[in-house]
C-alpha cells in the first residue's frame, strides 16, 4: 500500500485566524479515505496523526481527494467557527483554494486527488485598502 501523504497547507488573508494563527502548517493524509468523508477520529487528536487504515477499511473508500482534506481540516485543524470555513459541504464563498499555485477550479475542485507534497493554499479575499 502507498504511504501516508504529507500535504502542505497555507492559510492566508485572515483565514489563519481560524487555524490557531499559523499561516504554514502540514497534515498527513492516508491514500485511501472513507467515501463519506468521515474523518474517524476525535477532534482533539493531533492533526498530524492520520486516521488509521483499520478504521478506514471498515466502510467504502476512495482515493484521498481535496473534498476529504476540507473535512479533515474542519475536524482536526480548525480551532474555531467552522461555519466561516465550510458551507453546504464545501468551502465557504469568499475563500479561494489553490492547488500548487493554481486555482482549484482548473484542477477539478473537490475531486482533485491529493499527491504527496502537494501545497494547498486557502485564502480569504482581502477587502482593505
Amino acid at each position: 500500500m502507498a504511504d501516508t501523504m504529507t500535504i502542505k497547507l497555507v492559510f492566508s488573508g485572515g483565514l489563519e485566524l481560524l487555524f490557531g494563527n499559523e499561516r504554514n502548517q502540514s497534515v498527513l493524509i492516508p491514500p485511501l479515505v472513507p467515501s463519506d468523508n468521515s474523518t474517524h477520529s476525535s477532534p482533539s487528536s493531533s492533526p498530524s496523526t492520520p486516521s488509521s487504515h483499520n478504521d478506514i477499511l471498515t466502510g467504502e473508500t476512495k482515493a484521498a481527494d481535496l473534498e476529504y482534506l476540507i473535512y479533515h481540516l474542519r475536524d482536526h485543524l480548525l480551532k474555531e467557527r467552522p461555519e466561516l470555513f465550510m458551507e453546504n459541504g464545501t468551502i465557504r464563498p469568499g475563500i479561494l483554494v489553490l492547488i500548487n499555485n493554481t486555482d482549484w477550479e482548473l484542477e477539478g475542485e473537490g475531486s482533485y486527488q491529493l499527491c504527496n507534497n502537494d501545497e494547498i493554499v486557502f485564502i480569504s479575499t482581502l477587502h482593505g485598502g
Binding site: S12, G13, G14, L15, R23, R81, E83, L84, R92, P93, G94, I95, L96, L98, N101, T102, D103, E105, L106, V121, I123, S124, T125, L126, H127, G128, G129
Partner: protein, 291 residues
Amino acid sequence: MAMVDNDLPQLSHLDDYQRYGRQMVLDGFGLEGQLKLQNSSVVVIGAGGLGCPALQYLAAAGVGRLGIIDHDTVELSNLQRQILHTDKTIGSPKAVSAARAIAALNPRVNIDVCPTALDSSNALSILAPYDVILDCTDNAPTRYLLSDSAVRLRKPLVSGAAQKFDGQLCIYNLGDDGPCYRCIFPKPPAPEMAGSCEETGILGAVTGIIGNLQALEAIKLITGLHDGKASLLLFNALSVPPFRTVKLRSRKPTCAACGIEGQKIGAIEETDYVAFCGGARPDWLERGLEV
C-alpha cells in the same frame, strides 16, 4: 517653444520628451507608448492607502486624464500610509487633497475630482468615461459594485487589496476571457471575515507596494506591454518568498455578472452593495494612557 508642424503624432508639449525620456527609451515603449499614455484615462476609486501610490505613479508616467473618486476626508490616522495627504490637508476631502498633490507632481495631467460615494445609481455614469478602472477601495460591497460595473462597461478592473501584512493584486474582466471578481467569489464573504469592517491594521509599505503594482499593471495595459493573461499575485510582507503568482480560471459561463445569458446561475442583489457593518477602531489614545 515652437512645435514642428507635420502630420505625424507628437507629444503635446516639447518638454514632454525630456520629462518622459527615461521611459520612452525602453524596448516596446517608445514614443508610441507615451502617446498611448497621453491619450488614455484612468479612474481610481479610493484615494487611500492603495490609491495614493497608484495615482502618484500614474501621474508621473504621464497618463492623460485621471479621475479620483473618494467621499472620505483626510484623518490623522491615514497619514501612516496615505502618502499624498499631509497634516495640512486633515479634514479636506481625500479626492481634493490627492488631486492637489498629483497636480504638483505633474501639472500636465488632467484631473477629475469626484468627492462622491460610489453606489449602484451612479457607478456606470461615473466610470464610463475612462479606459481603465482601479479598485483601491477598502470594503467588499464597493468591490462587487466595481466588478459588476466593469463587466457592464467592458473595461479592465485593476484590483488591489491590502490588510495587515497581506496584499492581493488581480486584473479582473481582462480581455475576452478573464474572470470577473464574481467568477471567483460569487458572493460577498461572511461579515466576520471581511476585515474592512474592523480596524484590522495595515502596514503602510504593503499598501504602497500593491498600489504601485496597480499603477504598473494599468501602464502595461495602456501601452500594450501586458500579456493579456489574468493571474493573481499574493503578497505577504513577512513570508519567504514574499510573492506568489497564481494561475486563475477563465471567465465562467455561469457567472451571475459576466456569464452567458441563459447559463447564469444566481442573481446580483442590491444587498451585495450595502455595507453590513461599522466597527470601532481600537482606542490607541486610551491605550497610550494605560501603558
